[in-house]
């Protein structure tokens, strides 16, 4: 509007255009999300046209007409698509947060032993013959237990904390891995398949997706106000503090939030490989490392990836359902390698 600063030398690619680009990227990702939802809702053993899909969704708002398509979409496919989107978003956001927190590009939501703890809890519950609800409960307790263990052991303040946190997490994860292997080898034949499926990640059991979506929205909304401070954190702790960032409080927020998001995701869909590691990197390679754009973009991209992967997992070799974690890795790895070779920096 008011271009009063005629003397200011504004480079091409200046801030206003950078902000416009951010909006463009996010708008593109929202479109991708809509496309992923449309695919997920229409594809399956009973294909549904786009027109019928709209009718079914609008019918749901107006009370419903009771056709079989509408019923399948509303009670089966929609919850599952929303769940996949929400958990993909949770994992990608948690991964992006962990990468900033640990300032380590190899960090993912599971690096601090959260998924290991969840796996021990869930497999313990399966081994004990628990029902689905107790398996989730066991996974959540295991995830929080591992988080508290790592945080308690690595607690402290100083430049060594980052490395110590990472090392403690890796060691706890290794311990959990050993416990998981022990349980698998001791488990009776009939339960091993369920245990393996849990370990590979599976969104089919996610029947109540809306709390996860709500948590995703709340999580993103509570970290976005600190996005510029997170940018400073990646410039080094001393510099960030000198610029007025309350680093200890910010780290606590990021650690707590990242752990909670991961614990909820891992509880419901298991340990879905690569989403939390690769999606933030994909987004970073494509649009840079400004957390104000990276965090929402990674959240959306994670949701899109998991929603699409889950749809593929249940349709590609139907009626067999593949573990979604295998699909995310199969999609994510080539895309990631392609982007990496395209950007020789």
């Amino acid at each position: 509007m008011a271009h009063g600063h005629s003397a200011t030398p504004i480079a091409k690619g200046g801030m206003p255009s950078q902000r416009r680009r951010a909006l463009q990227v996010l708008a593109g990702l929202v479109l991708a999300a809509l496309a992923a939802f449309a695919w997920s809702l229409t594809a399956g053993a009973l294909p549904v046209g786009l027109g019928d899909l709209l009718g079914a969704l609008l019918g749901a708002l107006g009370g419903g007409d009771g056709s079989m398509e509408a019923d399948i979409i509303r009670s089966l496919r929609l919850p599952r698509a929303v769940a996949a989107f929400a958990y993909g978003g949770l994992l990608a956001l948690a991964g992006a947060l962990m990468q900033v927190l640990l300032r380590n590009p190899l960090a993912d939501p599971y690096v601090l032993g959260i998924s290991g703890g969840a796996a021990v809890g869930a497999l313990g519950a399966i081994l004990a013959g628990a029902t689905a609800g107790w398996i989730d409960g066991g996974a959540f307790i295991g995830a929080l237990g591992a988080t508290l263990l790592v945080f308690g052991l690595a607690h402290g303040d100083g430049s060594w904390t980052q490395t110590r946190l990472l090392l403690t997490g890796v060691i706890v994860a290794a311990g959990c891995g050993a416990a998981v292997a022990l349980m698998l080898s001791l488990a009776p034949e009939g339960r091993v398949k369920g245990m393996l499926f849990w370990l590979m990640g599976d969104a089919s059991g996610a029947t109540r997706p809306w709390p996860a979506l709500g948590l995703l929205v709340v999580g993103l909304a509570s970290v976005l106000p600190f996005a510029r401070e997170l940018n400073l954190l990646s410039r080094g702790e001393i510099t960030a503090r000198a610029l007025g960032v309350r680093v200890t409080r910010l780290r606590g927020l990021v650690y707590g939030l990242g752990s909670l998001l991961t614990a909820v995701a891992v509880t419901t869909v298991g340990s879905v490989g690569f989403v939390g590691l690769i999606v933030p990197h994909l987004v970073r390679l494509a649009i840079g490392n400004d957390q104000r754009l990276l965090l929402p973009a990674a959240t959306l991209a994670g949701g899109v990836l998991l929603c699409a992967a889950d749809t593929a997992a249940r349709t590609v070799v139907a009626p067999v359902q593949l573990p979604v974690g295998v699909l995310t890795a199969l999609i994510g790895v080539p895309v990631f390698l392609f982007l990496l070779t395209r950007h020789p920096r």
């Binding site: 410039r235 080094g236 001393i238 000198a242 970073r284």
Partner: protein, 260 residues
């Protein structure tokens, strides 16, 4: 409450600094007035960086007070201290790639609200700071493609973008070639002439002698000498502080200190 004289940009009163349980500095009293340049000299491990961080308010002193523009750090509104004093850290980690312009813009953080994005004015300030460090045309480059000296000048440019009244510089000449060492010191001399206070840790005694108005010489055992540069910089004191004999060589009006 109104004072006729502006308070010193920085003052330390009876300041004692610990590293672990060791006093590296006891009972320091210094003031830095606008226009003054204080150079901190001392051997490795003498506590120069720790002192600088204490003066920056990032570390609580063991005893004593640090006053920024007349007030303790705690008395300033949260975040406002970053508009008054800036710190150049000793090392510049970069774990993820960022453009040179983005990196220089971090200095505008204290001036922006929580939801603000950098305005064109901020960008103009950052571009001017980059130009003053000889980095014009680098704005779109990625930081990992820069050389060590270029990164150091970028870090200084980010500090200049912050536009504080007090500059605390931890080894500002690290990685810089001779030409840029002098250019950087000239730049801070000019800022001091405009009323800024400058405190810097240097290792080059002769550059210290050339640019410092005051010198703080640390012996690493708690003792120190503080005063006008020409009073503190003597061969006896320097030889003792650095644990290596030095001799003075006259070069016109200047005295150069050369290790024997």
């Amino acid at each position: 409450m109104k004072m006729d004289v502006r308070p010193p940009v920085l003052a330390a009163e009876q300041l004692t600094v610990h590293v672990g349980r060791r006093d590296v500095l006891r009972d320091l009293n210094i003031t830095v007035q606008p226009g003054e340049t204080l150079v901190i000299l001392g051997r490795n491990g003498a506590g120069k960086t720790t002192l600088l961080h204490t003066l920056a308010g990032l570390r609580d002193p063991a005893r004593g007070l640090v006053l920024l523009s007349g007030q303790p750090y705690a008395a300033w509104p949260r975040g406002h201290e970053a508009c008054l004093r800036g710190l150049l850290a000793q090392s510049q980690p970069d774990f993820f790639s960022a453009s040179v312009l983005e990196t220089a813009l971090v200095g505008r953080h204290p001036y922006l609200g929580r939801w603000d994005w950098e305005r064109p004015e901020d960008e103009a300030i950052a571009l001017a700071a980059l130009a003053s460090m000889g980095l014009e045309g680098f704005a779109e480059r990625q930081v990992p493609t820069l050389s060590g000296g270029e990164r150091q000048r970028l870090a200084i440019a980010a500090l200049l973008t912050q536009q504080p009244r007090l500059y605390l510089l931890d080894e500002p000449l690290a990685h810089l070639d001779l030409h840029h060492q002098v250019a950087v010191l000239d730049h801070f001399q000019a800022l001091a002439a405009q009323g800024a206070g400058v405190v810097m840790v240097l290792h080059d005694i002769n550059l210290a002698a050339r640019y410092a108005s005051h010198v703080l010489l640390l012996d690493g055992a708690g003792g120190h000498v503080f005063g006008a540069a020409h009073d503190v910089l003597t061969t006896e004191r320097l030889s003792q502080a650095f644990g290596h004999p030095l001799r003075a060589v006259a070069d016109g009006a200047q005295t150069l200190f050369v290790p024997t």
